[in-house]
Each structure stands twice: as C-alpha cells, then as structure tokens.
C-alpha cells in the first residue's frame, strides 16, 4: 500500500499515512505530498484513527489534493499534444517541455533545456523579437497572442501565446504551433 509521509511543522516525521488517509487523497502523486502541520489524523491499515487535525488544515489538504489531480490531467493533455510545447516563466527560463518538444529539440539538449534561458536557444534577432512580444504582453491583459511565422514544410502557423493566472496577471508564455492541413480520415475511424 502506498504511504504518505507526514511531517510536523517543526520538521519531525510524524508518521506514515496509508492510502486511507482521512482526507481522501487517492492519487499516486501523494507520495510526494509533504504535509506541514502540527497534528494530523490518519487511518492506519486497520482503519483506526490517529491524532486529530484542525478542520482548516483538512480543507487545505483536500484543496491541494484536488490541485494535484487537476495538474495530472492538464499535464497529460499538454503531453498528448502532437505539436511541441515549450513554456517559459517571466524570467524567460524554460519551465516545461512536452514530449514532442523534447524530441524536436533533442539536438539542442532536449529535456535538459528545462531550467535554461530561452535566449540560449535562439539568435539575437529572435531574442529581440521575443522581448518585444513579452513587453507587449505586459502592457495589457488583452494582449495575448502573436503570430511569429509560417512553416510551409509542415503547413503550420506558429504563435507566441501569453500565459496568465486567474487574475489575468502574466505568468509566462509559450510557443504554439497550429497545423492548417485539414483532416482527411473518416469520423471515428479506429484503425
């Protein structure tokens, strides 16, 4: 059975919660879940209850669990994109590449590009344009997408798209590829 390590606020290990942790954390990601609180209440493998936990902490854990579940699905969706996705933060550091991007940019370092500056991957002119677009993104929450070039070989239009949080604040940007060739196969053709 997968266990979650429970760590007290002072850093001491409180114990290990089995999968039946009180807060219904059911996804696999909870093995990385570091719980910083004073008291927790867990069920052991026999279903017995342990120490008590404040309700607000319980709610925080539920919320975090839900976020992890959402992240799992969103990551899987972006990973499933057949076009490269490279995400940068506000310091222009690459924070995420989907598998297609890792493969496409393998010659430049592939997955090792995560954590590097996007400016290391482009020439001076491209970097200048990226900065120009970035400044435009910062000017207004309505400025969110710029067409950058057309790739005739793959019939793709490529954009830089702003990434914003729920308040509309800029948190980063990414390169988006859109294929313009229409689908030719039949509907729901499984083969």
């Amino acid at each position: 059975m997968t266990a979650t390590q429970i760590i007290n606020a002072d850093g001491r290990t409180h114990g290990f919660a089995p999968a039946k942790i009180l807060f219904n954390i059911t996804n696999n990601a909870h093995s990385q879940f570091e719980v910083k609180l004073k008291y927790v209440k867990v069920r052991d493998s026999k279903g017995s209850l342990g120490d008590s936990v404040p309700q607000n902490v319980s709610n925080d854990m539920k919320l975090r669990s839900k976020e992890m579940e959402t992240e799992k699905f969103l990551k899987a969706v972006v990973d499933a994109d057949i076009n490269p996705v490279v995400i940068c933060d506000l310091s222009h550091t690459i924070v995420y590449m989907n598998p297609c991007a890792v493969q496409r940019y393998a010659k430049k370092g592939g997955a090792e590009l995560v954590g590097r500056s996007i400016f290391d991957c482009h020439n001076d002119h491209s970097n200048e344009m990226i900065l120009k677009v970035f400044e435009w993104f910062k000017e207004s929450s309505q400025n969110n997408r710029i067409f950058t070039f057309h790739n005739p070989k793959e019939n793709k239009d490529v954009y830089i798209t702003a990434l914003r949080d729920e308040n509309g604040s800029l948190i980063g940007y990414y390169e988006k590829h859109e294929v313009r060739t229409s689908e030719t196969c039949g509907k729901y053709s499984f083969n």
């Binding site: 696999n28 976020e67 579940e69 959402t70 992240e71 799992k72 699905f73 969103l74 990551k75 899987a76 969706v77 972006v78 499933a80 057949i82 996705v85 995400i87 933060d89 924070v95 995420y96 344009m129 120009k132 677009v133 435009w136 400025n143 969110n144 997408r145 710029i146 067409f147 950058t148 070039f149 057309h150 239009d157 798209t161 702003a162 990434l163 914003r164 949080d165 948190i171 980063g172 990414y174 859109e178 294929v179 313009r180 060739t181 229409s182 689908e183 196969c185 039949g186 509907k187 729901y188 053709s189 499984f190």
Partner: protein, 124 residues
C-alpha cells in the same frame, strides 16, 4: 517547481473548448472557453458530472466505444470526431495517459484550419 498555473494558463489560453473527462467519463476540467460555450448546460457546474448527462445516446455510445479502444492499447490515442464548418475546425478526442501510459481519461481537442493572415510579430 509549481507547474499547475502554467498548464492551466496554457489550456485556458486556447480559443477552443477543452473538456477533460476521467476514465469513468466524469468531467474533471473545463477551460474558460468551454465554460462559456457550454453555459446553457451549466458551464462550470458541469465539472464533476458524468459526460453522458450532456450527450445523446448515440454520441455517448460512440464515446463508450472510444474509451474501450483507448484502453485496448497504449498506442490508441487519438480519433477524429468531426469537422466544425462554422469555425473551420477539426475536432478530435485524445486519450490522456499517466507517466506509466495507463489510461486515465480523455479530452476534446480542436484544431483550427484557417491560415493566419496577419503579419509576423504584428504587435501594434
């Protein structure tokens, strides 16, 4: 590294609906565009509901067959669903898999086919 805000920002930035369902066909996420487009069905309130509540029997039957196909092999990952003439978009249903390639759900994906007409880097 907190990656969730970036992923959510990315999916929310799409100008087409993205609806994500888990392996039991329960809606677990809708991007902002989908919430607006399906407002008449409840918008954000659809999250947590079964997809079958919003489909015809015929459509849900197709979805059920598709889910079984996704489960059959980790190589079964995308199916063309239909073309939307009003947006000139091709609509697909894609499998969602975890890092072990286990099937955990599926999502809609819209691909716009109208070529871009604006100039590159036209920020003004």
């Amino acid at each position: 590294m907190e990656i969730l805000p970036y992923l959510k920002g990315l999916v929310d930035a799409r100008k087409s609906p993205v609806v994500i369902c888990d392996a039991e066909s329960r809606i677990v996420f809708m991007n902002k565009f989908a919430v607006g487009k399906y407002e008449k069905y409840g918008g954000e309130k659809m999250i947590g509901q079964l997809l079958m509540n919003y489909c015809s029997i015929e459509d849900y039957s197709k979805v059920s067959m598709l889910v079984e196909w996704f489960k059959e092999s980790k190589d079964n990952n995308i199916v063309f669903s239909h073309h939307e003439s009003d947006t000139n978009g091709d609509v697909y249903i894609v499998a969602i898999r975890d890092q072990n390639d286990e099937f955990i759900g599926f999502a809609s994906a819209h691909e716009q086919r109208t070529p871009e007409t604006s100039e590159p880097y036209h920020v003004d």
